[in-house]
């Protein structure tokens, strides 16, 4: 088990390094570099100055050398400097990561809380009216454009009914000590983004839970368990659900990936201060260091959760053993 985890960890690190190199190369294909921004603002600059600046920034070197230098500075704990905001990246990332984490977590919890019970219910009553309704709800979830839903939510709940704020992260000026008021305030701002972000995953989880549960209930051991005279609840939870859980965990862990990237759109529409929006802005604004760091963080998170999913597999499914 331990060797398996270690091997997977090493694999994950290798993948991250490879991907970061790919991304680094992609970023160098983007137009503009820091020296060009300086030239733009200085009409008296000479070509010698430009050459000197390029050397100073290491821009005259091939991209693999620049990549290597960049890795060195990262390894030394220096995440670099944001060209757009003109502050160190480390100061920029912290709070945004936390905000995204709140949003993703809330959305994930909401998705699970709604989709798992509904999915099981509809799997146990296939073909019923309720099943059809749940199915439609799920299909609608995976089919609705998330930004459109977000805009509709704002129109309904902020403009028309004025129940929730139209955008933002928290009320500016509120006391940020972890008091009850602060928590309440943050929650208020989280409601609409969470709903719009989670509806899509609710749709997917629902479909998944339902089919996993249907599959599980079709197995022979269910018939055996029923024949043994076990109680209905016991059959469903102890035998059906336990087995439906295995594929479910995979999709849950994988969904962290979409929670991080899906947040780009939701965070933009709701002006929510998270990593997703930062990634988008930094890529568009060619803010190299921010883009690379946030990109690597989101890739690393995804790969990490894949690993966790694989390990959890073994916990819920005794048939799987890690060697």
């Amino acid at each position: 088990m331990t060797t398996y985890i270690i091997r997977r960890l090493i694999q994950t690190v290798v993948v991250i390094v490879l991907l970061s190199y790919v991304c680094f190369s992609l970023m160098t294909l983007m137009p503009g570099d820091p020296v060009e921004l300086m030239i733009q603002s200085n009409p008296k600059i000479t070509s010698e100055d430009v050459a000197r600046l390029r050397t100073l920034y290491g821009l005259d070197q091939p991209s693999y050398v620049r990549y290597f230098n960049w890795v060195k500075t990262i390894a030394a704990g220096d995440l670099g400097y944001s060209r757009t905001y003109r502050i160190p990246v480390s100061e920029l990332m912290g709070p945004k990561l936390l905000n995204t984490f709140y949003l993703s977590l809330a959305s994930l919890l909401l998705s699970i809380l709604i989709s798992v019970p509904l999915g099981i219910y509809s799997a146990l009553h296939p073909g019923s009216k309720a099943d059809n309704a749940v199915n439609f709800f799920a299909f609608a979830g995976i089919s609705v454009p998330s930004f459109w839903l977000a805009i509709m939510l704002i129109l309904t709940f902020s403009v028309y009914y004025k129940i929730f704020p139209a955008g933002g992260t928290f009320t500016i000026g509120i006391d940020e000590n972890q008091s009850w008021d602060y928590f309440w305030d943050r929650s208020k701002y989280l409601v609409l983004p969470t709903v719009s972000l989670s509806y899509q995953s609710i749709g997917r989880f629902l479909r998944f839970t339902r089919s996993a549960m249907l599959e599980a209930m079709r197995n022979d051991y269910i018939r055996t368990a029923k024949a043994k005279g076990l109680s209905y609840t016991r059959v469903i939870w102890g035998h059906g659900f336990r087995n439906a859980l295995i594929p479910l965990i995979t999709i849950l862990a994988l969904s962290f990936s979409s929670l991080f990237s899906g947040a780009v759109i939701t965070e933009t529409v709701f002006a929510y201060q998270g990593v997703g929006k930062l990634v988008y802005d930094s890529i568009i604004g060619n803010d190299f260091n921010v883009a690379m760091v946030s990109f690597i963080i989101s890739v690393a998170m995804v790969l990490l959760f894949n690993l966790i999913a694989d390990i959890l597999y073994g916990v819920v499914d005794p048939r799987i053993s890690y060697k």
């Binding site: 983007m30 296939p126 299909f139 454009p145 930004f147 990237s261 780009v264 883009a291 989101s298 894949n306």
Partner: protein, 399 residues
């Protein structure tokens, strides 16, 4: 699978009916038609495909043009009649002069002689005339007698256009833009789904059939692509300067550059599911007797893959393609929403939505309509995929 099943008494005819041999496709078809929502989905999709294919015909029947602007009449509500733009009126006059030069000349001379218009140059007389408000133009024309004036009056009477679904921010007809948007969005969706399933099919087949190192390599690639946060990478790729990519410079400046780029980006990140699926089926097929038989008979690899294996993976792929179309349409919309998708003036549902978002509260219809179309298409594709899945899944046969 209700818990209290009762024994059903069946007649001999029913029994005979049930035991009669049915070919597979018939079973599948019957199964499919039992899935009501899938059938509705198929109908909706067929309708949209029909609309997409017929877009030019619809345009010529209604006389609408998806790019024709009428900036003085923007944001008109549903079902409104507006005067066409000056440019178009002038174009009509140019046509009139070209086709009926004599009539035009005499009319021009008469207009100037009667002092009804004062153009800077005589040949501008008719243009000056139609540049005025249509009511005024008609009034002036009524003061001139003769065939030419009547002819032009007829043309001026047609200086009105009807917009069922109103007009957008440049006075373009929303209905025809939605029709052409259907063409673009469905086209991109279907193209991406087909291309990515072809790539997935190839990669999956090669990996599954040959196994070993190739398999490991291809599957690692598939896994890492699957685990990536797609949107940020798509943003990076969409933002790349094509001039800096060797070999792609020729695309720069092409009218459809944004469409090619979008299709490329979407295909790049959507072949993995098909690859996994195909690989799985091929792995299990590899051990089957008929493949062994083919091998023994000396068939080469490509024959085995193409002749014997592919037919067996077509069914599950069909499902995946169907689901893929819906997903691609959503991605197109998402990227267009971020301003990285299809560029104006080509309409797509995604960029129509993007254009409408600023005026959500004032012209909500402009945003609601494309959103509903995206939703309707995607959900139809999803139901269709679900129906197909049920129909071809042997476990689900409900005979």
């Amino acid at each position: 699978m209700s818990t209290n099943e009762k024994t059903k008494v069946i007649t001999a005819e029913q029994r005979a009916e049930m035991e009669r041999f049915q070919p597979m496709w018939k079973i599948v078809l019957t199964q499919f038609f039992e899935h009501r929502m899938a059938v509705i989905g198929l109908a909706v999709i067929s309708f949209f495909i029909f609309v997409a294919l017929m877009a030019p015909v619809i345009a010529s029947i209604t006389g609408l043009d998806s790019e024709r602007q009428n900036a003085l009449n923007r944001y008109k509500p549903v079902n409104s009649y507006v005067t066409v733009s000056t440019d178009e009126r002038e174009a009509k006059v140019t046509e009139f002069i070209r086709d009926h030069a004599e009539e035009a000349n005499s009319l021009q001379a008469e207009l100037i002689a009667k002092g009804l218009v004062q153009p800077p140059r005589p040949e501008d007389a008719l243009f000056d005339l139609v540049g005025k408000d249509p009511q005024e133009t008609l009034k002036i024309l009524s003061q001139v007698n003769g065939e030419p004036a009547l002819h032009l009056t007829k043309i001026v009477n047609n200086f009105e256009s009807h917009h069922w679904l109103g007009t957008d921010e440049l006075g373009r007809d929303v209905f025809i833009r939605l029709v052409y948007g259907t063409r673009v969005s469905m086209g991109v969706g279907i193209l991406v789904a087909l291309a990515s399933s072809l790539i997935g099919l190839l990669i999956g087949a090669v990996a599954g059939y040959y196994g070993g190192f190739i398999d490991t390599l291809l599957m690692r690639l598939t896994d890492s692509l699957l685990s990536l946060p797609i949107l940020p990478i798509q943003i990076v790729i969409a933002a790349i300067d094509l001039n800096k990519v060797p070999g792609l410079g020729f695309l720069v400046g092409d009218e459809n550059q944004s469409i090619y780029k979008l299709v490329f980006i979407l295909v790049l990140f959507s072949w993995m599911t098909v690859a996994l699926l195909v690989r799985g089926s091929i792995l299990s097929l590899r051990e089957r007797e008929f493949i062994l038989a083919a091998k023994t008979l000396g068939a080469n690899d490509s024959t085995i893959i193409f002749r014997h294996m592919f037919p067996n993976v077509v069914a599950p792929m069909l499902v995946s393609v169907t689901l893929g179309v819906g997903e691609s349409i959503l991605w197109e919309a998402a990227l267009s929403f971020l301003g990285l998708g299809i560029q104006q003036p080509t309409p797509s549902w995604g960029n129509m939505l993007f254009n409408a978002q600023d005026l959500m509260t004032e012209a909500p219809f402009l945003a609601i309509l494309p959103g509903i179309l995206i939703f309707a298409t995607t959900i139809s594709f999803n139901y269709l995929g679900d129906g197909l899945q049920d129909a071809i899944d042997p476990k689900a046969i409900r005979r």
